[in-house]
Amino acid sequence: MTNSHSRTILRGLKAAQDDISLLIVTGVLTTAAVLLVAGSPDEKRISVYSNVANYSLTAVQRNNLDYIGLLELLEPLGTVSAKTSGDHWKFRYNDVESEFIAGRTRARVRGGDLDLPANFVLEKGRGLVPLSSLSTLLPRILGGPITFNQSARRLFVGNVAIHFTAQIDKTGAQKLVMNFTSPVNPTIATEPGKLRMLFTHEPVVSPGSQTLTFDSKAIPSASFQESNGAAEILVTSNTPVMASFSNDGRTITIAPPSTTSAQNQAQPQTQPANPPPPPTVVASTTAPAIAPQHVFAVIDASHGGDERGAALSDRLAEKDVTLAFARALRAEMMARGLTAQLLRDADTTLTLDQRAGMANSSGAAIYICIHASSEGNGVRLYTALVPSASDNHGPFLDWDTAQSSFQETSQVAALSVASELKNKKIPVRTFQAPLRPLNNVATAALAIEISPAAGNVSQLNAPDYEQSLASAVATGVLDIRDKLQAGSR
């Protein structure tokens, strides 16, 4: 685009060398065209990832809050229609009826009331809902789990997240091999010492830790961050590197140019990185379609959002430790070929009923809930202490005792995980506990309460400790994969 602008300007100069006014007009028009195509740098984007389509929309600001048009948001996912009647806005998604009232927070979805965190806005027949309402509103409308990272404005509908692992391959010249669970095609930009991969259309999510460090002088680290509807992986290098794609776009290898060209001659796409400035930007193509994935495990980082959980120290909240550990556990499970999904992958508020509902609708073979405590040492594993309650009615399970039929499998899972933790010399105890939503989950369900091994609370968010525990838990689950799959049918 920049070259096009330059050529336009040069042609203008040659055609009317002394005609300054023509140059000014051309310049103004070119600048306007650039701004029109590129969009405002302050524009807030929200990206939606689903099995049906991946797309981006623009958020608008009303009353100092971010809003999104509900009809535009859900239009690519199903059949939508809306009807305005005075202050009332009736919205239909497939067979689900909703009704909103302008200036009110109370909405009606699927026949039940729901409170939005801020007023509904109706503008010329366009219904706007606050972004902060999506975590609670969309599961009711869509009838399935969603994950909304509000700070990065990334919305995941169902189990669509693309996970990745990154490790240094030290055979021959050192290279960083990144394996993704689905094909990816990021926009790659380089500058001295850095290679940026921007994922705008792909639901790539954090590998567990925001920063990855490698035992490599050439490529010492990489970082993951999300913002404005996109994810970015930034690879730091001390030598010029190139990125090459293989395995149908599922693997990106970052290595010095000679290594890449010698070892990946058969790879069709090779993008240069770390050349002398100025930076090069390679335009990305449309992301490949993402096939529906079967979820083996649902990992629930307890607490979150307004609910901080226990104050583990002056600065450390339980909700942050559980999220970090949940991400580490997901990475360990993915590394073992077990597909895993987080119920929350950001600092969002979910009720216990929502968590149970999402876990039950996922069809996962195991539900793992994460808690953290500053008291005691090592790990406590809990299965449900099912309360005294009413009976099931035909195919409908009693909500409070839905876990009853799965308790045996849950206890097998707890014993397997405990065994792996003991193998790693990590203190572990196993109990039953009246801990919701374990009793509401209709699959094998396990809660893990992690506490520091040496009484030092800061150990709870130490990557080494997290990784050690997560590795043992993932191995314990892997050991009984067949039993869990059989038990969930």
């Binding site: 226990a310 008291e375 406590r380 109990f431 009246p434």
Partner: protein, 198 residues
């Protein structure tokens, strides 16, 4: 001139009244002799009574276990009053300086109600729940200590519900569920698990 039959009737009524007064005076004298002198002792407080040995399941934070402890406490005769005194003794133990399982200041048992055959309701005060430390095991130790101690000493309880200030509350301190009824048999299994140290 007053008729003669009227004079006779009044005389008979006076004689009957005098006879009944004498009879009442005799009866009262017998009752006073049977009761003896009036009891001027103050009414005994509810907790007063013969000391009895009971088993409390006491939580120990250091070892993260429950341990049975035999204690002698005065207990009243009524079943419900006994239940209240028993749990308050447990809470007093936790509020002591040498407590092995610290509760928040001013924690109290507001009441224990045996409302239905087999059902007991424990009503904690708000300070109990608001001042409780947050964590799955730490909350579970408190719950199991209350339920285990109550069911071990008050026979016939099969279900227990815990309220806070007379109202239902979601959790004790963010983890242990208080919305459901506890099955005493299941909790007693948990009490047994919690007695095993690491």
């Amino acid at each position: 001139m007053i008729p003669r039959h009227l004079i006779i009737a009044v005389a008979v009524m006076i004689a009957v009244a005098l006879g009944m007064s004498f009879y009442a005076w005799r009866i009262r004298g017998r009752v006073n002799r049977a009761e003896g002198p009036a009891n001027t002792q103050p009414v005994a407080p509810p907790a007063a009574g013969p000391s009895e040995q009971v088993t409390l399941y006491v939580a120990y934070d250091d070892a993260q276990v429950l341990r049975p402890r035999a204690v002698r406490i005065p207990l009243p005769a009524g079943r419900q009053e006994r239940a209240e005194e028993l749990l308050q003794a447990l809470v007093d133990l936790y509020l002591d300086k040498s407590s092995p399982h610290v509760l928040g200041p001013d924690s109290e048992i507001r009441g224990v109600y045996l409302v239905d055959p087999g059902l007991a309701v424990i009503d904690l005060n708000a300070a109990f729940a608001n001042g409780h430390r947050s964590g799955v095991l730490i909350e579970e130790l408190t719950m199991a200590s209350l339920v285990g101690s109550l069911s071990a000493n008050i026979p016939g309880i099969s279900r227990i519900k815990i309220l806070v200030d007379g109202k239902e509350r979601d959790t004790l301190a963010g983890h242990v569920d208080l919305t459901n009824f506890y099955d005493v048999a299941a909790v007693n299994q948990l009490v047994a698990q919690l007695q095993n140290a690491l």
